[in-house]
């Protein structure tokens, strides 16, 4: 993988598209310094120190590549949070939802148990999980897939991060609940300070919510453009073939031609 150049803007959703194995997830994990054993990131990943614990640093940003473990642990979950693909595996099946919502809050923000639980309840309300108070003492398997992903998003939002990495957040969900989760992400971004990196192989998802779109293939960025431009006037051949693969796409013809 190499040559990936991404910039997230505040309050925006940046889509990262590409087929499976093209390096989208690795890009997200690299931001958190969580690449699987043996892999390392090189180059530069900078997190703007506009507010929160890093505010007012001399350089104005925190360099994440090669950062010491302590720095990374202070960034993970606190300033950059992540939502994983399948909420039925990314939430611990043996821990009550309330515990998973509050443990990092208590660690990062130093909240006491009652404050953390009150905040967790408010978060569940915000992501529209019904009966937020009762939900705190339930376990993940007692929720539907869509609700579980909302809970996972609430977990990610718990410490008011500035960046949210969403790795295929709707892929494992029923089609009927995908739209609701996407809408929630859009609302969160529109809320102001949160930048979202939306990783997905689904250009349909992308066209629905992303502001900027970057297309990757085999570990390389092939095209990066605002949504409107990318969907109406793609420059790269590969982007065109992806668009052509969308059902009902106006690029069907172009895709045929390209082949």
């Amino acid at each position: 993988m190499g040559g990936i150049d991404l910039a997230l803007s505040r309050g925006g959703i940046h889509g990262l598209a590409g087929e499976s194995g093209s390096g989208k997830t690795m890009t997200a994990l690299a931001v958190l310094g969580l690449l699987p054993g043996g892999m390392t990131a090189s180059g530069s990943i900078r997190l703007a120190d506009t507010e929160g614990p890093g505010a007012g640093s001399d350089s104005g940003f925190t360099e994440l590549v090669g950062a010491p473990r302590g720095v990374l642990q202070g960034v993970r979950g606190r300033r950059v949070a992540m939502v994983f693909q399948d909420p039925s595996t990314s939430l611990h099946p043996q821990l009550p939802v309330g515990r998973q919502l509050t443990d990092h809050m208590r660690h990062h923000l130093g909240l006491g148990k009652p404050e953390a639980r009150a905040k967790a309840e408010a978060l569940l309300d915000r992501v529209r999980v019904p009966d937020a108070r009762g939900a705190l003492s339930k376990y993940p398997h007692q929720f539907s897939g869509g609700q579980r992903q909302r809970i996972a998003i609430a977990v990610a939002l718990a410490c008011d991060p500035t960046v949210l990495l969403a790795d295929e957040p709707t892929t494992a969900l029923d089609v009927t609940v995908q739209a609701g989760v996407l809408q929630l992400l859009r609302e969160l971004a529109d809320g102001g300070d949160l930048s979202i990196l939306l990783v997905t192989h689904d250009l349909g998802v992308m066209s629905a919510v992303a502001d900027e779109v970057t297309v990757m293939r085999q570990g390389l960025v092939v095209e990066s453009a605002p949504r409107q431009q990318l969907f109406t006037a793609p420059r790269d051949e590969y982007t065109r073939s992806l668009l052509a693969a969308l059902p009902g796409s106006s690029f069907e013809q172009a895709g045929e031609d390209a082949r």
Partner: protein, 359 residues
């Protein structure tokens, strides 16, 4: 488990089926276990009667066994002249009254013998299982975290060695080295001769001594425990370490561990609250199995350390063809296995809400 009871509130309490799902689960497990106990009585009875060798001759001695009158009287006394089926039902009926027959070696009721021997065995078996779980979980987790590094390889070789060494040989060697050569360990038995057994409460000498406030008796009992517990621990700790390593490696690959790291939680919290909690179910399974094999592995160890437990009693009963004694031990060990399994099954429910809350 306060959180669990509140969590149970919403699902399926309507329609009159108010029984707590976990209670129903527990009840089902208990009933299955009781059925299996009947199976165990049948198996021990049949197996014991299949043993070649004449228990009459063994009990009476060669000369008396040559006198038909004495033999007939002996057979009548112990009901051995009845058909096997009748003998089995007599045995079952007596069992319901807590009567396991009279040992032909000690001439005591088998129940009394076993009640005296069981705490001694439990004391070393419990000591060994607690120690092996602590050591096995710590070493196994370290090995998993350092997968492929030098410490991982060392732990794997050491645990394989622990698994491969025969228990009785290890017991003899340690006894020889620590008692005969170094004079560090005390001799055989549960207490030195100048101590008297503390008042009976639990039957575990160490616990009873503490309850009676006899600190020096406790220390003496603990020092007698040391070698047998060490031998049994070395026997199971290798198995546990290897198993914990595998289980933890599998959990480390789970999304929820990656998610916990992505939350910026300290490594300590990730290991305790996420990794080991996830691995707790497979670990529990193997701890149950290990405890079962400890109970049978204790026979030779008890014989070597003259430890007056179930193992010694089984050894003695088997070598004298004492059928009531052998059946009693078989039944007791079978029931212990079932009990351990039952406890493991119930703990699954405690550890895993999906088991506890599913109908």
């Amino acid at each position: 488990m306060t959180s669990s009871t509140t969590a149970v509130r919403p699902p399926r309490t309507r329609g009159g089926r108010t029984a707590h799902p976990f209670l129903r689960y527990a009840l089902r497990r208990v009933l299955t276990s009781l059925l299996l106990v009947v199976g165990v009585t049948l198996v021990t009875f049949v197996l014991t009667n299949l043993v070649p060798g004449d228990p009459v001759a063994a009990a009476l001695g060669q000369r008396a066994a040559e006198d038909p009158a004495i033999v007939a009287q002996f057979r009548a006394t112990y009901g051995l002249d009845q058909p096997l089926v009748v003998q089995y039902f007599t045995y079952l009926g007596n069992l319901l009254h807590g009567d396991l027959g009279v040992s032909t070696t000690t001439h005591n009721p088998v129940v009394d013998d076993l009640a005296k021997a069981l705490p001694a065995t439990l004391e070393i078996a419990l000591g060994a299982i607690v120690l092996s779980v602590i050591i096995g979980v710590v070493l196994g987790t370290i090995a998993a975290y350092r997968r492929g590094k030098a410490s991982d390889h060392v732990l794997r070789v050491v645990s394989l060695a622990g698994l491969s060494v025969p228990t009785f040989w290890l017991a003899l060697v340690l006894y020889y080295v620590f008692y005969f050569q170094l004079h560090i360990a005390p001799g055989s038995g549960r207490l030195s001769s100048d101590f008297s057994t503390p008042p009976h409460v639990t039957g575990l000498t160490t616990v009873d001594a503490l309850l009676a406030g006899q600190l020096d008796t406790f220390l003496d009992a603990a020092s007698h425990l040391f070698l047998p517990v060490l031998v049994l621990t070395l026997y199971t700790v290798g198995l546990l370490t290897r198993f914990v390593r595998t289980a933890v490696l599998e959990i480390l690959d789970q999304d929820y561990v990656r998610a916990a790291r992505a939350k910026g939680l300290p490594t300590r919290t990730v290991i305790w609250s996420y990794v080991l909690r996830g691995a707790s179910i497979p670990i529990l399974t193997v701890v149950g199995l290990a405890f079962g094999s400890l109970l049978s592995g204790t026979v030779l160890v008890e014989a070597i350390f003259a430890w007056p437990g179930i193992g010694s009693y089984a050894y003695q009963a088997a070598s004298h063809l004492d059928l009531p004694g052998i059946m009693g031990v078989g039944l007791l060990i079978g029931v212990m296995y079932l009990l351990v399994n039952l406890i493991v099954d119930l703990l699954y429910g405690v550890l895993d809400p999906r088991v506890r809350l599913a109908s």
